[in-house]
Amino acid sequence: MRLTLRIWRQKNAAAPGGMTAYEVDGISPDMSFLEVLDTLNERLTLEGEDPVAFDHDCREGICGACGVVINGDAHGPERTTSCQLHMRSFRDGDTIDVEPWRSAAFPVVRDLVVDRSAFDRIIAAGGYVSVPTGAAPEAHATPVPKPDADRAFEHAECIGCGACVAACPNGSAMLFTSAKVNHLAALPQGGPERETRVLDMVGQMDAEGFGGCTLTGECATACPKGIPLMSITAMNKEWLRANRRAGRTR
C-alpha cells in the first residue's frame, strides 16, 4: 500500500505547528497504524530529519499510552486504540490526516504527543481508596455481589487514553472521570469516600479547564474500551447525591 500521511508537526509547546504531508510506500495491510509511523520515522531518521514524536507503550491496546486523531476520529475508524488499528481499515492511495488530541487541558508537547497529566491530577483528587497496606487481605473478607463486581469492572476498563476528551466537541473529561467515579462507587471498598471522591474529582476536572458535557455521545463512540455514555448519567447522580449529603452534614 502507498499512503499520503498529513501529520501535525510542532517542535515544542511554544512553537507554531502545521500539517506536513509525507508519502509512505511499502505498507502491508497487516501493519498497525503505529508501525506505519515507525516506517516513516526510520526513513526520516536516515534522511537526517526529526522523526515524528508520538506516545506508545504496550502496543496491545491495554495501556492507554498511544492515541492520535486519525481523519477526525480519536484512534481512527475502528473502535480500538491506535496501536491496534490495522492498515486494512484503509485503502491504497488514501490520504490520512494525523493530529494530536486537542484540548486546552492536554497541551501539545511535541508533534503528536500531548501532556495528559491533567488526568493524573483528577485521579489524585479522589480516584483511590484509602486502605491500610500490608499483606493482601483474605479474599472473602469483603463480599462483593457479582452484579456490583461486573459494574465496577465495566468502568475499570477505562485505560485513561484521553480519546473521550479528544472526541468531545467541548474537550470534556466527563467520560473519563465518570468511569473512575463509578468504578469505585460500585464497590464496598469505595464506600467510605464515596461523597468526597465525586466532589473532589469533578472539582479537579473543572479546575483543569476541561469543557462541560453536552451529551453529544461522541466520547462513548470513540472510547476504545466501550465505556457507555450512561456512565456520565451515573456520575451526575453520584454528584447530586454527594451534594445533598454535604448540605445535610453541614
Binding site: 481523519n71 466537541p169 467541548n170 472539582g203 476541561f210 469543557g211 451529551l215 453529544t216 450512561m230
Partner: protein, 234 residues
C-alpha cells in the same frame, strides 16, 4: 497505626455546586423542565382557539382570575411570569457560561473535521438564541401588542388572528416552533441525564418521550397559525 482522615473544611456546598459545570448543568436542566412544563400547558391552552372566540377569550380571562379569591386579579398570572423569567434567565446565563467554558476547552480545532452528533444536538446553542429572540418578539406581539398592528387589548382571539394574517407573523412563529422541537428533542433527554434519571433500561423510553414531546409541542403550536391561514380560525 493512624490513618490519615480528611478533615479539611470545604467551601459551602451551594457555592461549589454553582461553580461546578455539573451544578450549572443542573440549573439548566431544572429551568428547562420548568419551561417545558409551562409550554405543555400553554400549547393545550392555545388549542382552545379552535372552539371559537368566546371559549378562547373566556379562557384568557379565566387565566387572570385563576386562584381567586385566595389570589387577587392577575396574581396567578404574575406568579407564573416571575417563575418563567427566573427560569429563562437562569437557563440563558448557565448556557452562556457553559458555552464559554466549552469553547475555551478546545482552543485549537482539528484540521480534519467531522460532525457526528445529531442535528438537534449541534443546533442547541443557535436554537437557544433563536428561541430567546422569539420570546422577545412573541411578548411584543401578543402580550404588549407593540408590534401587532390591528391589535385590540382584551381581545386575544382577534389579536392571534391579526398576527397570523401577516406573512412574517406566520414565518417567525413556525420557524421558532421548529427550533423549539429540535431544542426539546435533545434538551429533555439531556436534562434527564444531568439529573441522573437515565439508565440503560430507561434510555429508549426517555428518547421516545423527548421525541414525542418535541413533535407534540411543535405540532400543537403550529396548528394555530395553520388554522388561521386555512380559515379554520376566523
Amino acid at each position: 497505626m493512624a490513618l490519615a482522615t480528611r478533615t479539611d473544611r470545604r467551601p459551602p456546598p451551594l457555592r461549589t455546586a454553582w461553580d461546578s459545570t455539573l451544578g450549572k448543568k443542573t440549573v439548566m436542566a431544572v429551568s428547562g423542565l420548568v419551561m417545558l412544563l409551562y409550554l405543555v400547558a400553554h400549547m393545550l391552552g392555545n388549542l382552545k382557539i379552535f372552539f371559537g372566540p368566546d371559549d378562547y377569550n373566556g379562557y384568557a380571562h379565566w387565566l387572570r382570575t385563576l386562584g381567586e379569591p385566595a389570589l387577587h386579579y392577575e396574581w396567578a398570572l404574575w406568579i407564573i411570569r416571575v417563575g418563567l423569567t427566573v427560569s429563562v434567565v437562569a437557563h440563558g446565563v448557565t448556557a452562556y457560561q457553559l458555552s464559554r467554558r466549552d469553547i475555551k476547552a478546545r482552543p485549537v480545532g482539528y484540521a480534519h473535521r467531522k460532525a457526528r452528533s445529531s442535528y438537534a444536538t449541534r443546533t442547541m446553542r443557535w436554537g437557544g438564541i433563536i428561541l430567546a429572540l422569539f420570546i422577545v418578539w412573541h411578548l411584543l406581539d401578543l402580550t404588549t401588542l407593540t408590534v401587532n398592528r390591528n391589535a385590540q387589548p382584551g381581545h386575544p382571539y382577534q389579536n392571534v388572528e391579526a398576527t397570523f394574517h401577516t406573512w412574517y407573523g406566520d414565518v417567525i412563529y413556525i420557524v421558532a416552533m421548529l427550533a423549539l422541537g429540535l431544542h426539546i428533542r435533545h434538551g429533555f433527554w439531556s436534562a434527564a441525564q444531568t439529573l441522573g434519571a437515565g439508565n440503560r433500561r430507561r434510555d429508549r423510553v426517555l428518547k421516545a418521550a423527548a421525541t414525542g414531546l418535541a413533535v407534540l409541542l411543535t405540532a400543537g403550536f403550529i396548528a394555530v397559525p395553520v388554522g388561521v391561514m386555512t380559515g379554520t380560525v376566523h
